[in-house]
Symmetry: C2
Subunit: 152 residues, 2 copies
DNA sequence: TACACTGTTTATAAAGATTATAAAGTAATA
DNA sequence: TATTACTTTATAATCTTTATAAACAGTGTA
């Protein structure tokens, strides 16, 4: 990881903590650790991933604490919850807008950017009469690793 | 409901049963009833909705039967499973390709059509190296009913 | 018809993720 | 310090979905 990236995630954590302060949410050691893990995580972890990752630092932490704080973070807009159906939710630290490509074989999630799909929202609003707030989109397929495996 | 629509859903059910025959899936009374309910349903029901709706006709039917057969239908491509996170899956009889607009207030789901987003898939493939198979997208907002309620 | 084979349903238990509850702990404030 | 509100912990409960095993039904064959 380059120095730039280190600084980026440091700043992101700092910004996130500032957001908490401004919103009047207490910064507990657990919250700090969960946020820190989310910021530096590239893997879109589940609540259980986070729980397990922080087991060393907080041997007594409850799963409920993880869930509670992820909900708090979501409510103040720091974290996005990704719900891919059959399996457990994944949590994504909010940086810039992006979509996800999901490997149907190994579950890997990769970010990609795409210019906004505002037109879709406009059409939907027009056809259905809804007031649109946002949309979600994911793309599914097979990652390079798994594609190669299939050849053997 | 107009005569045209009645005929449409009749044909859809017939087509679906034909698909089952061709695929070698037995058409049991329960399967017939579940399919029939799905075809004429405009509400994207959950497994439990279906279970409850058929309670009268099949007092002894097991929830597992509903789940099993929804899986069978999904595997032969008759039904699409919609997973919107925190709540239970919803099941959608497959007709033509369409997307969904979901009311964040009352949960109502409305279909809308939009010309394919092939370009998104192409970009994702190019950027990530994935072999793309499909995508999903939903639009969220507030339906007219709920918008009106908010004014009072 | 009788028999065996296969797929299906039922009833129930089990699994897994998430939420609810109550008690104990901690920080902020008067 | 005393009070109050918020947070964490531990645990139980809930809810959806899947697994399992026994009973049942349909089909084909001798």
């Amino acid at each position: 990881m380059s120095h730039t990236h280190v600084h980026e995630s440091h700043d992101q954590l700092k910004d996130a903590l500032d957001t908490l302060k401004q919103t009047g949410v207490r910064i507990t050691p657990q919250r700090h650790a969960i946020l820190e893990f989310l910021v530096q995580s590239m893997t879109h972890p589940t609540a259980d991933d986070i729980y397990k990752a922080l087991e060393g630092k907080f041997p007594n932490m409850s799963v409920a604490t993880v869930y509670n704080n992820l909900r708090v973070f979501r409510e103040v807009g720091l974290v996005k919850e990704l719900t891919y159906g059959d399996t457990s939710s994944r949590f994504d630290f909010v940086t810039t807008e992006h979509y996800h490509v999901i490997c149907e074989s190994c579950g890997k999630i990769v970010d990609f950017h795409y210019p906004g799909l505002d037109e879709v929202e406009q059409l939907a609003a027009h056809v259905t009469g809804f007031k649109i707030s946002h949309h979600r989109m994911e793309v599914y397929g097979t990652c390079q690793n798994c594609s190669h495996k299939d050849l053997h």
